[in-house]
């Protein structure tokens, strides 16, 4: 009974948080892109940039909405399903999340209204300011929540008094050992995810020979974007891995599929099927010594394996192992794509090469998939600990009857499946509709649609109201 509700609570959390992260990983990057395009438009007055901003703001809005509603669930789920966890760690995690709300969520929400609905009510510059504020708000939000999560991975700066966590140094809590790596890696991931969505859409238009000028701009821009961020991500990911080796050696062993307690000359497994029962790998395809080289910078370097800890302290190895390979594999694919793009650009064939465009449009979901895979490595690899090395997940679940959690989990699965379908439907619809025509955008600059027009109009109308009242 007890165990069931624990498992269900974990499933529910994993399901709801996985659903949530899909949307932030698009919105953080997309908000940044839209802000950049709006800025470029103000600077160069090239209407294609305005068109890009005006087009992408619509998918952005629906994605943001999904992010908000699914996020609110999470902020209550810590208490509903992991009540003992919140009681033990509330003094550490609560203030971090309070800062997230104070410095990020209100900021995003407050300026989002102006960003989405204010085109006709504020000047173009003020609108740009609102867009930038929303983008910065999403980064700040990532900062705090990643700090909270990283503290659970590599706790620091705390003391334990009466079994509860008390903070001794906030600086150490926030900038705990894995936080800088995770934050940078995550923000880069969102940039890639959004960039890939833009790339895929532009390539799709080009293949259908629609909105050519717009699509070329989008494709070219997002390929440069990818060319910068994809290699950078691999570099940061490598550093992140070194950090994991230092602080969470068992997780690293699961990522790399290392079983012996200590092993030298560790091969890099390109593929294998880890077997937790026999404690070895099947069907290995490996590069000898490579893992040692990457992680210790020495062909013969020694790494800790899974057998160094009892079975009860190991995570689900195959899940961590495969998720890691999915993420890295897709990361490598992104780098290759960006390089191919560069090569085609050199030869002036960027917008014609059909195979390339086809591949680009297939890449649309790969950002989201890598983000999820990455988080599975991080979170499943942390098990059986909820606060690494200190608190076990199984000890802190709310004493709820299993049926109640089963019911809520079912409701979430139904609701979210339905909404995800709806989200994809509307996303597709917006993409199919295409960007607003340039002529319409010219109208945006004059008449009813111009910046500040609506505000002026309502003011005059109100002026009239008061006059008529005065006449009465």
């Amino acid at each position: 009974m007890e165990l069931d509700s624990a498992l269900l609570s974990r499933l529910q959390f994993a399901f709801t948080v996985s659903f949530h992260i899909i949307f932030p990983s698009i919105t953080i990057g997309l908000a940044t892109l839209i802000a950049i395009w709006e800025g470029l438009w103000l600077k160069t007055r090239n209407p294609l940039y305005l068109q890009l901003a005006k087009f992408w703001i619509k998918p952005f809005a629906i994605t943001f909405g999904m992010g908000v509603v699914s996020g609110i669930v999470l902020s209550y789920e810590f208490g509903t399903n992991f009540s003992k966890f919140s009681e033990l760690t509330g003094a550490v995690l609560g203030p971090l999340m309070a800062y997230e709300v104070l410095t990020a969520f209100f900021l995003e929400a407050g300026f989002l209204g102006v960003m989405l609905f204010g085109w006709q009510r504020v000047s173009a510059r003020l609108h740009f300011f609102a867009t930038c504020t929303v983008a910065v708000g999403t980064w700040i939000s990532a900062f705090w929540i990643i700090a909270a999560n990283s503290w659970m991975q590599t706790p620091a700066g705390h003391a334990i008094v009466d079994g509860k966590f008390v903070v001794e140094s906030w600086l150490e809590v926030i900038f705990n050992p894995s936080m800088p790596y995770r934050l940078v890696h995550m923000l880069l991931a969102t940039m890639l995810t959004a960039g890939l969505v833009v790339l895929a859409t532009s390539a799709w238009y080009l293949r259908r020979k629609e909105h050519i000028a717009f699509a070329r701009k989008g494709l070219s821009f997002s390929l440069w974007w990818l060319l910068i961020f994809a290699p950078l991500q691999a570099f940061v990911g490598d550093l992140h891995g070194l950090n994991v080796k230092e602080h969470q050696p068992v997780k690293l062993a699961a990522m790399e599929g290392i079983w012996p307690a200590r092993e030298q000359n560790v091969p890099l497994l390109l593929f294998a099927i880890p077997d937790p029962v026999q404690e070895k790998n099947h069907f290995e395809v490996a590069i000898p010594g490579m893992a040692s080289l990457i992680l210790t910078h020495d062909w013969h370097g020694e790494l800790t394996g899974l057998q160094s800890v009892p079975k009860a302290d190991r995570p689900n190895v195959p899940l961590v192992f495969f998720s890691f390979r999915v993420m890295v594999g897709l990361g490598v694919l992104m780098i290759m794509l960006a390089l191919w793009g560069l090569w085609l650009r050199r030869r002036d064939a960027l917008y014609q090469q059909p195979l390339f465009l086809w591949l680009c449009s297939l890449m649309a979901p790969t950002g989201v998939i890598s983000v999820l895979a990455g988080w599975y490595v991080v979170e499943v690899g942390r098990q059986p600990w909820i606060v690494y090395g200190l608190v076990r997940t199984s000890e802190v679940v709310s004493p709820l009857p299993a049926e109640r959690v089963a019911l809520s989990l079912t409701l979430f699965v139904l609701t979210y499946s339905l909404l995800f379908g709806v989200y994809l439907y509307f996303f597709r619809k917006l993409i199919k509709k295409g960007p607003p025509p340039l002529e319409d955008l010219q109208h945006h600059l004059i008449g009813v649609e111009a910046s500040g027009y609506a505000l002026a109009l309502t003011k005059t109308l109100q002026g009239n109201d008061t006059q008529t009242e005065g006449a009465k």
Partner: protein, 341 residues
């Protein structure tokens, strides 16, 4: 002032802000079925589509202040209220996405109307239900969700629906013209009666619920300084009722209502809620998990309370400032031409 008390009051402030702000936009969702015309529905939604997200953020804020400043209370309350919280969240999900999808839909508009109306109603009802449950003392985590459904909690659920709908009506009186304004004023006047009746019943039931609360209101001379609460409520309700009546009459006569009578009802409804909330605070203080924990017992260690303090002192005023700025940009009546992205 000691820090736990400060955070207790801050929590009260966050809850009140949430109830007022999301109150009017949930209220509009509750009123949705009574505005049949698609054009009406368009306008109702347009009047809040730029603010609902910010309004709902106060709910998140309340949650994390509880989490950060009173972890034991956060853990105890949320797990004990598991079922209504989950249901409320799902209601909020449906109404939240309806904002985005309704305007972009052609064939499924009907469904988004329903998602918006039902989602808002379910969320508001669950909130009222939880209020009723907490007035009666916090249940055990193992108690069945069905035990939470008593006549009293059902009553508070419906009472909060009526209250939010009233806030919604007064907001619409402020933001709409002509027919819609007329209709909002008419519903609003009826709801004033409903809400006053409900407040009376809840107050009496709360006071009679426990000896301690009874003593607090009627024992000794306390009543001397507590009487303004009920008295001011009655005065506010009376003025509200008359203002809405004036708006109705002027509209009937074909005139444009005086802007004072259009705007004041909203603030009067707000003050009704604030007074009711103050009354509740008087009854429940210093409990934070009613019947189980006081705010002092539940408070987080000093280090956590101190760490949040600069954040609260700097950012809450800032948030209030830019929130007001946001409302000012969209001030005035909702117009018929479509605005936005």
């Amino acid at each position: 002032m000691d820090l736990p008390l400060f955070y207790f009051l801050l929590l009260g402030f966050a809850i009140l802000m949430y109830v007022l702000l999301d109150g009017f936009d949930l209220g509009i969702g509750i009123l949705y079925p009574w505005f049949r015309d698609e054009a009406d529905k368009d306008q109702l939604m347009r009047s809040i589509s730029h603010v609902w997200d910010g309004n709902e953020t106060w709910l998140v804020f309340g949650g994390v202040i509880l989490f950060g400043a009173f972890p034991a209370a956060y853990a105890g309350l949320t797990s004990a209220l598991y079922a209504p919280i989950m249901l409320m969240l799902i209601g909020l999900i449906f109404r939240g996405v309806a904002f985005e999808y309704r305007f972009k839909s052609t064939t499924s508009k009907r469904w988004w109307n329903r998602a918006f109306a039902i989602g808002s109603t379910v969320a508001a009802f669950c909130q009222g239900l939880m209020l009723g449950v907490l007035i009666g003392g916090t249940p055990l985590v193992s108690a069945s969700p069905l035990d939470l459904l008593t006549p009293f909690t059902l009553f508070t659920g419906f009472a909060l629906l009526a209250g939010y709908a009233l806030l919604g009506c007064t907001y619409l009186v402020m933001k709409c013209r002509d027919g819609r304004q007329q209709r909002a004023a008419r519903y609003g006047r009826r709801l004033v009666w409903v809400l006053m009746g409900a407040m009376l019943v809840v107050s009496i039931a709360t006071a009679m619920g426990s000896d301690e609360i009874w003593q607090r209101w009627f024992g000794g001379w306390h009543f001397l300084w507590l009487w303004p609460l009920p008295l001011l409520s009655v005065l506010a309700a009376r003025l509200l009722y008359r203002d809405l009546g004036r708006v109705q009459r002027q509209l009937k006569a074909g005139a444009i209502p005086h802007s004072r009578h259009e705007d004041r009802p909203f603030w009067l409804a707000v003050s009704l809620f604030a007074l009711g909330f103050a009354g509740l605070l008087v009854s429940l203080f210093p409990a934070i998990v009613p019947g189980k924990l006081s705010y002092v017992e539940a408070a987080a260690p000093q280090a956590s309370l101190q760490f949040m303090l600069p954040g609260v002192l700097i950012f809450v005023p800032l948030i209030l400032a830019y929130t007001c700025w946001g409302y000012r940009i969209f001030a005035g009546k909702v117009e018929d031409f479509s605005e936005g992205y």
